[in-house]
Structures are given as C-alpha cells and as structure tokens.
Amino acid sequence: MNGADAIVRSLQKEGVEYVFGYPGVAICPFYNSILGSGIRTVLVRQEQNAAHEAGGYARISGKVGVAVVTSGPGATNLITGIATAFADSIPLVCITGQVDSTLMGSDVFQEADISGACESFVKYSYIVRDAADIPRIMKEAFHIASTGRKGPVLIDVPQDIQMQPLSRFEYPEDVSLRTYKPTVEGHAVQIRKVMQELQKASRPLVCAGGGVHLSGAAPEVRWFVERYHIPVVTTMMGLGTLPTEHPLFYGMVGNNGSPCGNRAMMESDMVLMVGARVADRSIRQPELVMGDKVLVHIDVDPAEIGKNAGPTIPLVGDIGSIFREFNRKELELDFSEWTGVLNGYRTEVPAPEASEGGRVDPGAFIRTLSLAMEPDAVYVADVGQNQLWSCKNAVMREGRFLTSGGMGTMGYAVPAALGARLADPGRQVVAVCGDGGFQMTMMELATLQQYQIAVKIVVLRNNTLGLVRQYQHFSYKDRFSVVDLGAYPDLERLASAYDIPYLHLTDAGETERILKAFLAEPGTALLEVRIDPDETV
C-alpha cells in the first residue's frame, strides 16, 4: 500500500460514490489506485467544473462532494469552483496533486502554491508531508467540510507522498481536533428568550437563508411557521424553504426580491434571521432590520452573527436542532391577523404574454417551465438575468433551487446540474442559463453524454450579456461596452455535434407544447429560447 492507496481507501471509508476530476502526472498515482475501487470517476472537461459538479452533488445528496485534479494549472483551474463553494458554504474535499515534496518551492514544471492561493476561501487546507498522516488528514477533512458552517477543504498531496509506502492503514474512528468544536445545540437560555419575545411580538417574520437547506432543516422550519402562522420570506439561497404558493410564503427579500417580501421585512416587529448572512444583496441596509425590531439571528457560524447587523438575541447552533427545540415548546400563538395584512400586499403574477408576434416573456416562460417540471425537480439557475427571472418566477413545489448565490459564478448551472443528477438519478434536473454563462461551461455537454447523465438545459438566448447590458442601460445611459456576444454559435449544430436533442422556442404560443416535448426527452436535451435583448429584470 502507498499514499495514493490510502487516499482511495479513505474515500471508501467515507462512503464516497463519485470523484469529479481531471488527471495529470502529479495525481496519476491516485488515479492508478482508484481503478477497481468501486468509486466512480467523472472526467470533466475543465477543472473548474469538477468543483461545481461536486458542489451540485453535495447540495442534493447532503454528502461531501469530492474533486481530484492535478498540480499547477489543474489546481489553479479549480480555484473558482472552490471559491464558489466557499461563498455558499458547500462541503467539498478537493484533492490536488503536487510536485514531489523534495522539489516544492523551486518553481518546477506545473508547480503552484495552491494552498497559499486558496487560503482565504477554504475552510481549511493541508499539505501532506508524510503518507502516514493520510488517514488522519482525510478523516479530519471530511469532518471539517461537513460540520459547523460547511465549506471546502483542500488537501495538496505531493506525487512522491502518493507513492510513499505505508506499512499499515488504520482509519480513525473519531476526529480529535482540539481546536475545532462547532456548536450544534442552541443555548437553552437563548431559546427561551426567543420564545418569550415571540409571545410579545405581533408581527413576527422568519427570513430563511441557505443555511436552512445546508442543515436539512426545511421540514422543522415549516412545522414551526405553520403551527403559529408566522409568515416566511427567504434570501435567494433560502428559496424552496416553503413552496412558492404556500400561504405563508411572501417571496424573496432584497434588491431583486418581491415588493411583498421586502414590505413584510419593513413592517415586522420581530425577525428571525435563520441561516442567512444579512449580506448586501438581501439586506442592503442592515440598520433597517435593527432599528425598531427584535432581531433574532440563528446561525451555526458565530462570526456571522453581528457581522452585518447586531442582533437582539444571537443564537448559535444547527438550525435543525434549534427548531426541534422550538417545536417542543407549546405556545398559544396565532399570527393570522398579521398574515392577513401581508396578503393584501401580494401582487398578481403576470399571465404569460403572447403579444407582439409571439414574443417570449422570460418571466412568464420561467413560470410555465417550472410548472411543467416534476414537482420535486431540481432547478439550477445560472447567473445573470436568467437567475433573477428564475428567482422571481419559478414556482417551487417540493423541489430544490440551486444557484451560485454568494460568488455569482457564471457557468455554474450546467456542471452543478450534472452533479445534482448523479446525487439523485431519479429526479428531474433542469439547468437554466443565459447564452453567456452557457458558453463558459458548455464543454460539459461532452461529460453529460459520456456518462449518459440526463440534464435538461435551457439557454435563454439574447446574444448579449444581459445583466451587464441592463446595468449599462440604466447606469451608463446605453453606452454598451463589450456585452455583444457576436459570432454566436449555432446551438442546433452544437447539440448535434454532441448527439444531444435540440429544441427551440421563438413563439410564446408554442411554450407549453415545446416544453412538454423537451421535458419528455429521456436523456440530456437542449432548449434554446429566443428572448429580446432589451428585456430587463
């Protein structure tokens, strides 16, 4: 047994099903050991996608995603994917090959200081100096990635360490990290205080963030709000905590949120901020949620509490665990009067428009698409106008909504959808992209086809970088600069090059018929939707 065998054995011990990656000389010992291990490998077409695919897999499976690439450019290509996972607290273990330990620091071929480069956006990183440390490091890495505030962990393994003989392999039962003990259970005194404040409140509101999904706590939160009729808003990452058409759901907050959701936030007298960072896109002016309100901030990461808004009651711990405690208390409360007020703020969702020669309205299209999808489908939005149209119009039922919320990484949707589908092959997965983001990662069409992974890809085509163009329209008075996607590829021929069925939609009247055919395709399919570049969101 050598170091590489020890890494593979450790992955087996952790129950890893898939490794997303790209080989190179410095990681070849690992890719030699993985043959015959039962762990399935997915060869991506560019390393960034390995991290996105592992991230999509992690979000849907609830397990740690694993990406394994080579040294130097392989490792640096992975960086954007690692940063994307870090910003959204997605648990990953990223393993990079490294040049021989004896050569490290001498700038040899394909050497990059990847742990140094990633320092500020990994949860932790290791450089392995001795193969004997591998079982402990692997155990710690999976533990750190998947507990507390989740996030990516990087393990850089020099090639000679992968080949170093190991006399025995003993995988640790437990992790003994003296310095790392995340809080799980909420403090009983603080929980009691929240309940006391809730009894005094007349207009409480739950604002759910991505932490709700990371904790797997959506059922507990739902049970809590339904019991007392507490209205719910979400951040972009928290979408799907309640179904869109749930009577207690009042939309997304923030500068891209719904007027009703933002109004609920303004008028509430008590906000339970749950697994949300109170970041600029959701809460632009934190002082507004602090002023006249009781702010309860519930997060597993104590550093998030008070970072952007000073709470009245800080409550550190796992959201699922805390809401199970909440749900044990018996209170006589009912906030139906307050939800009645909020119901008056709801605005009608626009019906699909078929005017102007069948012009496809992007929002109406998204709504129809989401309703045509299976109720538990995974909806993966890319970044840009498509993402904002998706947030505002996709009707979530029992499914999940994935997007790169924190980092806003274009090209995220296709690879993340691939990973999501592998995590739950029985579930429908739809990726919605713009034509800019799609062209950033469309090389993954090959990966989808090679492994016969069925993802439905929608490309909203307007031949422009829509959200930047829209920004230039409003902020630079139509001085459009470098947003024109010229020499646009013929997506029909592109799809055919990969042997992928292609459909297109140009007439809104055809929406339902085309969507039905598109979603009925057994494998991966591509739907191109022509929209007007002047559309704004």
């Binding site: 140094g116 320092e119 500020s120 990183s125 003994s176 990290l177 310095t179 990461d301 008070g306």
Partner: protein, 169 residues
Amino acid sequence: MKENEKVFQILVDNTSGVLSRIAGLFSRRGYNIESITAGVTADPRITRITVVTSGDSDIMEQIEKQVGKLVDVRDIHELKPEESVYRELAMIKVRATPDQRENVIALANIFRGSIIDVSHESLMIEVTGNSGKIDAFLKLLSGYEILELARTGVAGLGRGTKNVIFFDD
C-alpha cells in the same frame, strides 16, 4: 495602550502555515496590526501569538470571532490592560563619539537599559518595558542620531492564575 487599541492573546496549534493564516486573515479583512509577536509556549505543540490591533468595538468583536473560528486556533481573548502585563524589547544603535558616550549611558541607566555593544562611534542599548516607556526613551534620544532600531513588538500575559488556560489533552 493607546485609545482604540487592544491586545489579543491567541493560542494556536503549531501547524505549518498557521502564522500566515492569522496574518492573512487580518490583512484581507482590513484589520490593523500594530504589532504581532509569536513564540512557542511551554507546551511545544502550541504557539502564543500576541497581536496589538486597533479599531472600533464592532471590528474588535469580528476579530475575535473570525480568528476564533480558524481551525488551528485554540483560544483568543483580550489581554485587558488592568489585568495584564505587556512588555516590549528594543535594541537601539545610537551614534556616540567617545565624548557623547557618558551622556547616552546615563540616559540608558535612567530607563534601566543596558549597553550590549560598543564601538568607537556607536553604542547599542537594550531597553525593555511597555511600549510607552520605549517611546519615551526614544524621544529622549532625539538629540542623538539613531543608526538602527529593532523593536520586537508587544508580548503580554494575564496577571495571576485566573485566566490561565490548561490544555490537558
């Protein structure tokens, strides 16, 4: 300490790269470092880092939380002035001709400094104390030419046994 300044004691596991993790966190989040010192503790697995930093109370709270959440950090807490002792060491090389020598030595004596090197044209003085004392001594030397100056930065410990942290594992 100046107003707005605080001294943090950080105990970390002696892992490779731990100093750059701490220093990197300060720089990327825009926290000030007035001084930083590090050295191994009586337990060779643990390093003590003393950081003097400045900022408003919100920043101080964030520093404590962000540093505290780093995986390698065992403990971070403030060394409050009234409950702690701070020391800094300075080595000062002053130009001193034979006829100036006596005066400089007299000044050093007042500050309980010691002369640790001497040459025809210079003296090297070692002074230990809190930062204010060292600043005061340097001010007194302003009439002389300081050729080189090395300050270690602040190290500190809490007084008594109340806040001693024991790691038994």
